[in-house]
Structure formats: C-alpha cells, structure tokens
C-alpha cells in the first residue's frame, strides 16, 4: 500500500568528494562534516528540506564509485539506494571530473530510479577556462540538470524546484548507453528463451547476466542447471573465449560517458600548469614533501603554544575574578564556599582555560582537511605504513584522530579490507587527541617551560604528539601478524584538486567542536569536580589534629611548609579519597606518581580531560599564592613527596604526559570501537593494550630519570 501523505525521501548519491554533503548542508541547514578528500562521509545522515509545497526527507550517504561496493562505507550507500529505496535520487555530478562521475550515473539507469542531476564544481571548471552546456547535458542524460555551488547557496532554489517537479511527476531514468549490438541481440535471445519458459527476465537483466556472473540476477539461475547452459551459450557468443564481460560493460559505459563529456563540456583551456599542480610539485616532492609535513606539524604545535597564551591568561583572569567575586558572598557558609570556589570554579575553570588551544588545533585540522592536503599525506605515507602492514589510506583516519579518536575510528570504514580497517580502529585511539592537549599544556607550562624556556616547551608539545604515532607503528606490525588474514584490497586513492578551505565550514566546525568541549566541561567535568571535592573534604578532621605531627617534623622540613599548609595536606591525605589513593599509590609510585596523581589518573578513566580539574582540586591551593601564574601551577611546582623530595620533576612530568599519551581514558572511544568492530572483545583489547603500554612506558621513563639524576 502506498501512503501518499507520507513524506517523500530524497537520496543524495554520487562519487566520493563530489559535494554531496555540502549540498546536503545547503538543502537541510544542517552542518555535517565536509572536507576535500574522498571518504569524508562514512555514515548515512538524514535531514529535512522544505520545498515549495512539501517537506521532504533528505539522506546523505558515503560516496560510491560503482554499485558494486567493496568497503563498508560503500555498502552503507548502496543499501540506502537499492534496499531502502528513495522517491527521488539527486545525483551529485562533479563537473570538473564528469567522465568518471558518469560511470556511476549510467549504472543508476539499471535500477528504475527517479533522478535529478545537481552539477557541482562548475566554478572550478570555469576558473580553468572550461565551460559547460546545461541544456545539452540535460538532453543527453535524459533528466533535469541544475548547476549548483552548494557552499555559496548558488542554484539551490532552482534545484529545489527541480526536485519538486520530479517528485510530483516522477519518471524513471532511461538511458541508452549503446551496448554493442552483439550484446543486445544475445540479451534479446536470452530474455526470449527464459520468457518462453515462464521465467520473467527483462532485457536489462539479461544483459547483466551475460556480462557479469556476479550480477544479482544471475544468482536466480544458480540452482537451475537447465538454464545455465543457455546462459553459457549466449555468453560465449558475446564474449568469446576471453569471458571478459565486465570489461565490455565498463567499456560501453565509458565510451558513452566520453561522448557525453565531449558534447557538453568544454575542457579547461589553460595549458599552463595549474596552481594545484605547482603546489603539488613541492608538497609531494621526494625530499621536501616529508620535510614540509614535519615542518607544518611543528608550526602547528608551536603556534598552539604561543598564540593561545594571551587568551589563556584572559580566561584565567576571568576565573580568578569570578572566584574573588563569589567567594565573599558565601563567607557565611565555608562549606558551600569551598565547594563553589575550590570545587566547581577551580575544576571546571581549569579545563575552560584550554579552550583557545583546542580551537587552534581544530582550526589547523579543519584547514588540512579542507585544502586536500590530507589525501597527499596519505600518498606520501603509503609506503612507510605499508611496511608495517597498514594501508596508506589509514593515514587519513589517523590524522583526523588528532582532533578526536571517535570520528577517526569511524573513518576507518573507508579502508578497503577488513584487516586494515580493524588495525586502523585499534590504533586510532593512540593518536594524541585534543583532550590530551590540556594535560600536556598544564605539565609543560608548569614544569618544562620554567626550566627550558618557551621554545623547548613548544617542541615538547610537538614531540608529545608523535609519541602515539611512533608507538603505533610496532603495534600495527605485531597485530598484523596476529590478526587472521582477510582479503587485501588496494590503496587506490583519488587526489582531489587543492581548494581554499571553505571558511564558513571551518567556522562551523570550530563552533560545533567548542560546543562539545564546553558541554563536557559543563557536565562530566562539573560532576567529577564536585565528586572529587566531596571525597577530598570528608571526613573532616578536628582542628589541631595534626599539630603534634607537625611539631615532630625536622626543622628543615618545617622551613619548607607552614603549619596550616601541613594540616591541609594531612587532612586531604586522611580524606576518603586520600585513603583510597594512598592504598593504590604503590602501584603507580614506580612511575613517579604520588597518591594525588594516581587518584587524578583513576578519576580520568571515563574521560581524560577530568585529570586537569582533578589535579587542580587535589593539589589544592597553598595559603601564599603569588600573583601571576595560576595557583594550580604553583601548587604543583611546590608539591613534594612526604620526605620533601619535589614531586613534579622534568622526568616524572614526562612520565605522566606519556602515560596520558598512551592510555585509553575515554569511554566514548571504547564505545565507538565496540560499535565499529561489533565486539566487546576488541574494545576490551584496546583498553587493555593501551593501558598496559602506558604503564610500562611511564615506569621506564621515570626509572631512567631517577637513574640519570642520581
């Protein structure tokens, strides 16, 4: 039964990187991720679009090269198109690469679909001196063609009108690609043969059966031996001994596509090397290519370190001002005052401070993704990654993981074989995501910079981001031997033309990312801050409890710490959290972590950002805080082991940073690993191997440090 009142469904289909998601965003007003490389979209996403007389559902899917999927993202797209079905297909046709884009279009004609074409990238074509003839193209394709430039909104109203017309008055796409006469004659005979025996077989299906043994229609005859002979006979008649049906099929389609292109598109006239080519000659140069890549990364992290400082100071000042403003108002209830000032403002504020750096990092990643450089990086890295058993394409999900591992884990869907995909999913969480940034910045700012200056501090930040990448290489190498071998499929990557990033898209990415970050700060970090504060405040010791203990300290120790400070410290140690932390302390002591760091680490397992507020609250505030640097930094610098040895040395802070670089402290990532691999086993494995590595590395580093500084 057909429900006429139901909302119509429109699917956006096309080659990878043709501009489907850009168009989806323009039609629905949503902000799905776009980027200038094939394989940005790996899931279907749905939205609503208002036409003149009705609302329709729009579905964006991953890009396809053909209707025969080879990877998971392609399966998602073909199943939307062929299994779920759509009332209208908007075929997104890349005007700067029309011939290959028409191959898939010609396949749509085999599936009784109602199609409208949106022609994108015409601005690129025009800029290089090319031109196009819409009327001609429309005649040749037998459907309406609307030129659009999605990110500028050009052509969108016209496209909506065309969509509405096609929905009101549906036509199935009919295309005469011009298969050779022998093929069509044989298909005719075969269809006739079957029909006479009471088996329905259309001409198109018959052609498919003849040219492709893997055709879905061919499956119908698998168990009917009496018909297989007839099929084989016709197949021989058409293909001869070679049996290369798919070649014949592709040749016919491409010949048609070439004719259409020649008749409707004037190719780029500039015979000079394009800017894209000149840039590429340098960016993927044998020597400069890799140097450029490293240099670029260095620049990114150095600038995160330096550019953000003034903004960070501003937020820090705001936080102090807020605390100073709120504090007197709560004077009458010290417990509430402590909760608000030492718990909430300190906790949530300490993470807030790192918003500028995270925005800068996301900015760089968005620019890398928007220009098309990412695909080049994959091209450069394929051989290197190939040695350890990974496909060069893995580099794209891995680089994206520097922003956040979750999209990185999902992006592994583009990997053409299941083994590479699994390997990529397993190592993507090792890449240093933006949530680790605050930890590095906190420790580098507190311990490394005062000692070695800002240039080394920037370098340290750069180096920390390579720890995960470098550790990933042997991991992949080892896992690759353990994981059972699957089908191995090719690298085959299309390099898009360089483009300027779409600044509006970059801006939208930044705002949505900042929102996510602030939401985490407002929810999980807020909750954990209150919890840590409470566990650290209770049970309360009576005043004067620690007086005797203080008096028993050596004179030297007494000169380091005042009685009040000592009492506060001891109170924390005897609190619920303190007792717990001190029980676990021996486990982490070899890595150079005392009970406070240990507790902070444990608190950070649900989400690693929590470590920053946890340390802020745990280290508390000394009475005599100087102006200038944040109190948290100062109390960390002053923290000692009970015997007075400084707690945070250069070595122990490196040990702590490496721990965070390698440890899997993110529930959301584990959930994503589970979803993508369909098994808790691999999620548990990720958690186990990363945590073990983190522990081993930090112990080794700290022990080296102890040995060296003796």
């Amino acid at each position: 039964m057909v429900e006429t009142s139901a909302k119509k469904r429109v699917a956006l289909v096309g080659n990878p990187n043709a501009g489907k998601t850009s168009l989806f965003n323009a039609l629905t007003g949503l902000h799905q991720k776009t980027g200038n490389y094939p394989g940005v979209t790996v899931e279907k996403s749905e939205g609503e679009c208002q036409l003149t007389f009705q609302k329709v559902d729009v579905v964006d899917v991953p890009g396809l090269y053909s209707l025969t999927p080879v990877s998971t993202d392609e399966e998602v797209a073909t199943s939307v198109l062929l299994d779920e079905g759509a009332d209208l297909v908007v075929y997104v046709l890349d005007g700067s690469n029309i011939e290959r884009n028409l191959f898939l279009f010609s396949q749509l004609a085999d599936h009784d679909l109602n199609v409208v074409v949106a022609l994108t990238m015409t601005d690129i074509l025009m800029r290089s001196g090319g031109d196009f003839d819409i009327a001609r193209l429309s005649t040749l394709l037998g459907v309406e063609v609307v030129p659009v430039i999605p990110h500028k909104g050009i052509g969108i109203p016209e496209l909506k009108e065309a969509m509405e017309r096609a929905i009101e008055d549906p036509h199935t796409l009919e295309l005469d690609v011009g298969f050779p006469k022998v093929v069509m004659d044989a298909a005719d005979r075969l269809a006739d043969h079957m029909n006479r025996r009471g088996i329905a077989l259309g001409l198109r299906e018959a052609r498919c059966v003849l040219l492709d043994e893997h055709c879905t229609t061919a499956d119908r005859f698998r168990d009917l031996p009496e018909h297989i002979a007839a099929i084989e006979e016709e197949r021989k008649a058409v293909l001869g001994a070679s049996g290369q049906g798919r070649t014949l099929d592709a040749q016919a389609r491409y010949a048609w596509a070439e004719r259409v292109r020649k008749e409707s598109i004037l190719p780029p006239q500039n015979k000079k090397r394009s800017k894209s080519e000149i840039a590429d000659a340098f960016l993927t140069h044998r020597v400069f290519g890799l140097l450029f890549f490293l240099g670029l990364m260095y620049l990114v992290f150095q600038s995160i370190y330096t550019f953000a400082a003034p903004l960070m100071d501003l937020i820090e000042a705001g936080k102090t001002a807020l605390a100073n403003w709120v504090s007197p108002m709560l004077e009458s209830t010290p417990m509430v005052q402590s909760l608000v000032v030492d718990g909430v403002i300190e906790g949530v504020g300490s993470v807030f401070v790192f918003l500028p750096q995270i925005v800068i990092l996301f900015f760089f990643i968005a620019v890398l993704e928007g220009t098309g450089y990412l695909a080049r990086a994959a091209f450069l890295m394929d051989k290197l990654l190939g040695w350890c058993g990974l496909n060069g394409r893995a580099f794209i999900p891995l680089l994206s993981s520097f922003a956040c591992a979750i999209p990185g884990v999902m992006a592994a869907r583009v990997m053409p074989d299941q083994r590479s995909r699994l390997l990529t999913v397993l190592v993507a969480p090792l890449m240093s995501c933006s949530a680790r940034l605050p930890v590095y910045l906190l420790l580098i700012g507190a311990i490394i910079e005062p000692k070695y200056g800002p240039a080394w501090a920037g370098f340290a930040l750069f180096a920390m981001h390579f720890v995960g990448l470098i550790v990933a290489i042997p991991i992949v190498f080892i896992l690759n031997r353990k994981i059972s071998k699957g089908r191995r499929l090719p690298f085959m990557l299309e390099l898009p033309k360089y483009q300027w990033p779409k600044w509006r898209d970059v801006f939208l990415t930044l705002t949505s990312r900042s929102k996510v970050f602030l939401q985490t700060a407002g929810t999980i970090i807020f909750a954990m801050s209150v919890l840590i504060w409470a566990l650290l405040t209770f049970p309360q010791a009576k005043p004067g409890t620690y007086q005797k203990e203080y008096e028993a300290l050596s004179v030297e120790r007494q000169s380091q710490i005042s009685e009040d400070e000592f009492a506060e410290l001891r109170q924390r140690e005897d609190s619920a959290l303190g007792r717990f932390g001190r029980t676990i302390e021996p486990v982490f002591a070899p890595a150079g972590f005392d009970w406070r760091i240990t507790t902070a680490i444990l608190a950070a397992f649900p989400a690693r950002e929590v470590v920053v507020p946890a340390m802020g609250i745990l280290f508390g505030t000394g009475a005599d805080v100087d102006e200038g640097s944040p109190k948290m930094v100062q109390s960390m610098q002053k923290a000692t082991w009970p015997d007075g040895r400084p707690l945070m040395t250069v070595w122990s802070s490196i040990s702590l940073m490496v721990f965070f670089a390698l440890c899997c402290q993110c529930m959301a990532t584990l959930a994503a690993v589970k979803r993508e691999t369909n098994s808790w086993k691999w999620a548990a494995f990720s958690f186990g191997y990363m945590t073990t590595l983190a522990y081993i590395f930090s112990v080794v580093i700290n022990q080296i440090g102890l040995a060296v500084s003796k």
Partner: protein
C-alpha cells in the same frame, strides 16, 4: 597512434611518462575496481608523480588524478607511448 610502443611493467613507470592500457586480466582480484575507475583497454594515461619511496604512483587518467600502488596494476597490460617530459624541467 604510430609512436614506438613497448611493453611496460609497473616498475618502469616514471614521472612524465605516457602509457596506454593494452589489455586487462578481468579475473584478477583488483581488476573490477580499476575498470570502474576507468582504466580500460585503450585508455591512455600520464604518470604525474612517483611518491618519495618509489611507490605509489599518481596518474592522470580521464582528467582526474588517481594514486595506485605499482603492485596493484598487475592486472593491466601496459605499453608506453613516447616519453613526453612535459612535467619535468
């Protein structure tokens, strides 16, 4: 075209070289995808770049850029068209 043609293996691919697909082995594993991407008997292409470690290579085929590992072109029979060093220099 009557330019001097010689059979190529993928190892011979150099930047700037022009080549033509003379035939394909459809039965091989990677072949269907190459067909779908437009590498068919008779298709000409130009090698635009070779990655720093000698592999993969980037080719200009049908007006777009495709990267392939040399080992992945095994199902294509290639012949060289005359070298055109238009990219070098």
């Amino acid at each position: 075209m009557s330019s001097q043609e010689k059979v190529l293996t993928s190892k011979d691919l150099r930047t700037g070289m022009r080549a033509r697909v003379a035939g394909v082995e459809e039965g091989q594993e990677l072949c269907p995808r190459l067909l779908e991407l437009g590498l068919l008997p008779g298709t000409e292409f130009r090698v635009t770049k070779v990655a720093p470690l000698g592999c993969p290579v980037e080719i200009d085929v049908r007006g777009y850029r495709l990267c392939l590992r040399k080992s992945e072109t095994g199902c294509l029979k290639l012949v060289s068209l005359e070298d055109q060093e238009e990219i070098a220099g």
